[in-house]
């Protein structure tokens, strides 16, 4: 029994974090917002460098040119992408498509679960979708995309539809559920990273900002809000790690663990956003301040692929009603 990251997992995450910080500063993310309305594929900041690191194909089998890692190995790196608010369909490409896509030269996004949306659908070559109870690949050419605007414009969201026969089956119900569960664990990891980043930025701010002659961080109301965020992160993080183990090793209850992780991480990130904004005050409410890069990503990912209530209900059907799986 050992519940901790290995040094290798942590140093991979540190390397990914360093690339994100270098390649994806707030200016590049803001530039993506300005392109939110264009239908043309856009360049995704940091993607080339992260591909060089192997991150994008980390979960792909070695025989297909990937690193052959599992979800546990890549969760700390996924947290790092969340901390950086890295744009692009990283989770969809690496966690969802990685293990099922034989061709390493293509970029993938995905639309699984209760929402009919895929992020960056127009920027990728192939989409992972569920058609009935089959896990399928859908070439972008065969997809009918309707652009939608996410509250986080950098997501370049689209509603995905297709003509019958366009999706190519690559797996059955078990593979479909596994792909979905890997996806929500990836998003949960990013939500954790977003929460951590918002907490850190807010702590820095309230140490510096003075009102009434003292740092606003010395007020107990501010302290307790941020302490609550720290508590929420402290107890969401082990669920995310546990879910990573579950989707890798425990077939049976993987969906329950994955949904618990997504629900807890979404709640932590929403709480972090709420208190980060309140503790920043009007300064954090402006477009010019970077806080909303993280907040809006958190609001989007907390709702994408099922919100916390949806995932709790998925848990309830097993834990309370005694249904089988997921």
């Amino acid at each position: 029994m050992r519940f901790a990251w290995t040094e290798v997992q942590e140093s991979f995450a540190a390397a990914v974090g360093a690339v994100c910080a270098r390649e994806c500063p707030p200016e590049r993310l803001r530039a993506l917002w300005d392109a939110a309305e264009t239908a043309q594929p856009v360049e995704l900041p940091g993607w080339a460098a992260l591909a060089d690191q192997g991150l994008l194909d980390a979960l792909a089998p070695t025989e297909h040119g990937g690193l052959g890692l599992d979800a546990v190995d890549v969760i700390p790196a996924a947290v790092a992408t969340g901390r950086a608010a890295l744009p692009g369909p990283f989770v969809e490409h690496a966690f969802v498509a990685g293990p099922v896509l034989a061709d390493r030269g293509v970029r993938a996004s995905a639309a699984l679960g209760p929402a009919p949306f895929a992020a960056h659908a127009a920027d990728v070559d192939v989409l992972v979708v569920g058609a009935g109870d089959r896990l399928c690949l859908l070439d972008r050419a065969g997809a009918r995309l309707e652009r939608c605007r996410s509250v986080d414009r950098s997501r370049r969201l689209a509603r995905v539809r297709w003509d019958p026969g366009a999706p190519r089956p690559v797996g059955g119900p078990a593979e479909l559920a596994a792909a979905f569960d890997r996806g929500i664990v990836g998003f949960a990891a990013q939500l954790l990273g977003l929460a951590e980043a918002m907490l850190e930025r807010t702590c820095e701010y309230v140490r510096e900002r003075h009102q009434f002659g003292v740092p606003v961080g010395s007020f107990q109301a501010v302290k307790h809000k941020l302490a609550d965020v720290r508590v929420a992160i402290e107890f969401a993080a082990p669920l995310v790690a546990r879910a990573g183990w579950a989707v890798t090793h425990d077939g049976e209850r993987a969906g329950v663990w994955a949904s618990m992780a997504k629900a807890a991480a979404a709640d932590a990130a929403e709480l972090a956003a709420r208190h980060a904004l309140q503790c920043h005050g009007a300064i954090g409410y402006s477009w010019e301040h970077d806080l909303h890069l993280w907040m809006k990503r958190a609001w989007a990912l907390s709702r994408a692929w099922g919100d916390a209530a949806w995932h709790r209900e998925r848990v309830a059907r097993v834990v309370l009603d005694g249904e089988d799986g997921p």
């Binding site: 996410s150 986080d152 009102q211 904004l277 309140q278 409410y285 402006s286 010019e288």
Partner: protein, 378 residues
């Protein structure tokens, strides 16, 4: 206790309801926090004014109807029920006007109130500064006496000024006596934004609309009649205005009753997508909206008997601002994965998140409640 409306009040309600039914734009106007949207909203304000409905509680000679607080309440209820446009003139009408009525000279009232009622002149609030947010008394912008010119020269910066980039005038506090204590030595000025020495830079709010502005003063000159009330009395006048902002006048219960109604409609459309907790959370929000409406009846009863809004306004500020957040959280839960979309509810959510911050953060309001209503030590 008598919860019945008089025939006169019922007639007023019918008139308002019918006028709104005929006149409220079928399509929502563009956001009033953009330049073109602001103009569209002013056009709407002009029509409201023509119908003598822009300032119903004001004297007839300034464009109002001399309506009492109950009719004001009826007007607000109908206005929100009809889904009528946001009042982009609200900072003038609801915040400056009460101060003008109480502290203004007859000449100031005659000069400023009619164009405010018609929307010909639009007012933004100049309270906050980069270093004076929650700590409003830390204001550094200053007014220096210009004896030769017979007036004052203004210096410094105001910020987070709502719709400052589109308004014609600003009311705000400036320090006239740098030697006096924090709350003393502040004076309340009425400033046209078009004069020399004033620079306005609009900037985006959370939703990207240019709803905020920095206003820079670099020696702008105003004459003595730009001072509202006495020199050095600015804090007291501003605090009288603040109770209005926190309490009744800005946040009429009609707004939250209407929001609760929209939420119930959303429930009827989306219930299939909603988790089991959302039904209960929704009813909580509905009950809270009714509670706010009922509490307002008590406040208006006292106000109709001549009471002034006091520190109790902090209770309302905390309640309505957090109710507004709750309403939008419930809406997001009802929308499920579609809550990610940048639609009217998402915009409303972001707008609601400003409520616990502006007009005195809710942390400050809770301090006020604890210290001034509950008698806890500072």
């Amino acid at each position: 206790m008598d919860l019945t409306w008089s025939p006169r009040e019922e007639a007023f309600r019918s008139e308002v309801r019918e006028w709104l039914a005929r006149n409220v734009p079928a399509e929502p106007l563009p956001s009033g926090d953009t330049r073109e949207g602001f103009a569209a909203h002013l056009e709407w304000e002009r029509r409201l004014h023509e119908a003598h409905l822009s300032v119903v509680s004001w004297p007839v000679r300034y464009g109002g109807r001399d309506a009492g607080p109950w009719e004001w309440l009826i007007f607000e209820e109908e206005y929100h029920r009809a889904g009528a446009p946001q009042r982009v003139t609200q900072n003038g009408i609801f915040l400056l006007a009460p101060a003008l009525f109480e502290f203004g000279t007859p000449a100031q009232q005659d000069r400023y109130l009619p164009p405010m009622a018609s929307g010909a002149e639009t007012w933004c609030q100049g309270w906050s500064e980069p270093e004076a947010g929650s700590d409003l008394a830390a204001i550094r912008a200053r007014a220096v006496r210009d004896e030769a010119g017979g007036g004052w020269r203004l210096f410094g910066q105001k910020t987070w000024t709502t719709r400052g980039a589109f308004c014609t005038h600003l009311f705000g506090l400036f320090r006239t006596d740098p030697t006096a204590g924090r709350h003393r030595g502040l004076t309340y000025f009425l400033v046209p934004l078009g004069i020399d020495g004033v620079t306005v830079r609009g900037f985006g709010r959370l939703d990207g609309d240019e709803g905020f502005a920095d206003v820079f003063f670099d020696g702008a000159f105003v004459t003595d009649d730009a001072v509202l009330g006495e020199v050095g009395e600015g804090w007291r006048i501003a605090m009288a205005t603040a109770s209005s902002e926190r309490g009744l006048t800005l946040r009429s219960p009609g707004r939250f009753l209407a929001a609760a109604t929209r939420l119930v409609e959303l429930w009827r459309r989306r219930r299939g997508d909603a988790g089991p907790a959302t039904r209960d959370a929704l009813v909580r929000a509905v009950i809270a909206a009714e509670a706010y409406a009922a509490q307002t009846l008590a406040v208006v009863t006292r106000s109709a008997a001549g009471a002034r809004p006091g520190v109790e306004a902090s209770l309302a500020k905390v309640f309505w601002s957090e109710l507004d957040v709750v309403i939008h959280e419930v809406a997001r839960d009802l929308l499920g994965p579609e809550a990610e979309l940048d639609d009217v509810w998402a915009r409303g959510h972001q707008f609601a998140l400003a409520g616990p911050i502006y007009a005195g953060t809710n942390e400050i309001q809770r301090n006020v409640i604890a210290e001034r209503l509950l008698g806890l030590p500072r």
